[in-house]
């Protein structure tokens, strides 16, 4: 394995390519993953989504060889994972699972230090790395570092899981429903923080979820799998919402896909109206408000246009017509 002494959180990312990957479990007729081909550019988040039995977790575990594939190949930066040393392969891949799986007998700091220590890093370097990571995921290195997992809340535990997975600066991260066990508020906060974090660290991420809303929010690209592990569509969230490949995808995405598309755009992306009648004492939107939330606000206010404020000054007004027009394909900005 290449020595990666460069410092650190900005690190490396690897391209992942699935080539005609198939997984058969012995004694089962239907394949778990069936002839899956897709390539994930370095630094992007690819979400595997689909109903249960669609093989999304299986497909993910083929990458770090927790499950062995039957046919095809998976390449990371052009290297066939089945030809790599299994231990080295896994130490180069951050792995985050829904139940986190922290070591209950180790402190938070020791949990995070696990892989760096296995790699034989010097003590001072491990300590510095642990501090850096705990801060990165929003924990206090002094106060939280010496606590045990059982003393943490669910959200804190998943933060530690994330820090532990990032510890050795792996170019690739696998995340299996990482926020699935959290309450909705904590989940949304961690989703947002992970997206912000990802802007910084730019890992290649495979993210498994069964929740299409989460997929649309987190993914640069979304791979929708159907039962039997067949790839139904692999495209950007915009494309999947605008042009579902078939009935299965359309149904999976849901009848409210127009609203979901609105959730992807911000008020600030629109060309706002210069003036609007009757806009006094209305609730105020910001450029960061999603079109979906803006529409909801407008409907609450009997459909009248609402002002958008930035730095205390009104930048313009949003109307229902403006929002509707944003849904027309030629006006969508990817």
């Amino acid at each position: 394995m290449a020595e990666s002494t460069a410092d650190i959180s900005t690190g490396t990312a690897g391209e992942i390519e699935f080539r005609h990957v198939t997984k058969h479990y012995p004694g089962r007729r239907q394949a778990a993953v069936n002839d899956l081909s897709l390539s994930i550019p370095a630094g992007e988040i690819c979400v595997l989504v689909g109903p249960s039995g669609a093989g999304k977790t299986t497909a993910m575990k083929l990458v770090n060889r927790l499950i062995d594939l039957s046919e095809g190949e998976i390449l990371i930066d052009g290297r066939d994972v089945t030809k790599m040393n299994q231990t080295e392969l896994r130490r180069g891949i951050g792995y985050v699972i829904q139940q986190v799986g922290l070591f209950p007998h180790m402190t938070v700091a020791d949990n995070v230090a696990t892989v760096p220590r296995l790699l034989g890093w010097e003590r001072s370097r491990v300590r510095a790395r642990v501090r850096e990571l705990l801060e990165l995921v929003g924990l206090d290195p002094d106060e939280d570092g010496s606590r045990y997992p059982a003393q943490l809340s669910g959200g804190q535990r998943q933060r530690v899981g994330l820090a532990r997975a990032l510890a050795a600066d792996p170019p690739v991260m696998l995340m299996d429903e990482p926020f699935g066990a959290l309450d909705p508020i904590t989940r949304e906060r961690l989703q947002n923080e992970f997206l912000r974090l990802h802007d910084e660290i730019r890992k290649t991420v495979i993210f498994v979820t069964h929740d299409i809303d989460e997929a649309i929010k987190m993914g640069d690209k979304i791979a929708i799998l159907r039962e039997g592990g067949v790839l139904a569509q692999y495209a950007s969230p915009e494309d999947i919402l605008t042009r579902p490949a078939d009935d299965f995808v359309a149904q999976f995405v849901g009848a409210d896909r127009a609203l979901k598309r609105l959730a992807l755009s911000r008020v600030g992306d629109l060309e706002l109206l210069d003036s609007a009648p009757d806009a006094a004492d209305s609730p105020v939107l910001t450029p960061d408000t999603s079109l979906r939330d803006a529409l909801s606000q407008i409907l609450t206010e009997d459909g009248r246009p609402l002002p958008v404020q930035e730095n205390g000054a009104v930048r313009g007004y949003v109307s229902v017509q403006l929002v509707t027009r944003a849904l027309q394909p030629e006006r969508v900005q990817a």
């Binding site: 896994r90 792995y95 296995l118 899981g161």
Partner: protein
Amino acid sequence: MIGPVLADSGPVIPNFGRADTCLRENHTFCWSWVKAHWSDTLGPALVQHIVLTLIAIGIGFAISTACALYAHRRGWFERPFSVFSGVLYTIPSLALFQLLVPISGFSTLTVEIALVSYTLLILFRNTLTGLRSVPEETREAARGMGLSDSQILWKVELPLAVPAVIAGLRVAVVTVISLGTVAAFIVDKGLGSPIFHALQSNFTTELIAAGALAVALALAADGLLLLAQRLITPWSRYRRA
């Protein structure tokens, strides 16, 4: 030579050295005897008892840990060893000593074989349960992070098994300390021998003193192990209820 001495000493009652009234009248418990005979009777017996116990626990722990590790890897081994150690556990101790005498004689070996056989079931069961207590997601995360099977064993499974192992040791140690007194039927060692001696001579002080020492030893050993467990596994206090 004898005559004048007898004449000086007054009553013709056997005189146990500098015996006081308590001893002469064989009261239930005489502290003076305990003080007088600590160094020639009770102290050595206590040390012998500790040694007997340590050897039995050491060997029993080694055997049962090895077998538990094997059963952890190869599941089929659990049942036969459980049956074997379970049968040993049910044999009455006196009967087991007598059964072993024709083979290994009136020796410390006989005593240790018997004592060890009583530790196996509890130590094996607890160690195996402890090794299996590692949550599946913890094991999966460990594998996903690139820990090898032996690293998972040493860094995850064994440390997590410690509370269960020590719980087993506590029961085993108390059992062995208590059963060890019966060993005096075979060899003249341990706290069993003053008890045995006292039973034959109807001397309650010695009986009570040796018996109390055995109880105190068991309590102390149990307490020490509990303390050790608290020190070794500070995390176990925070386990989710």
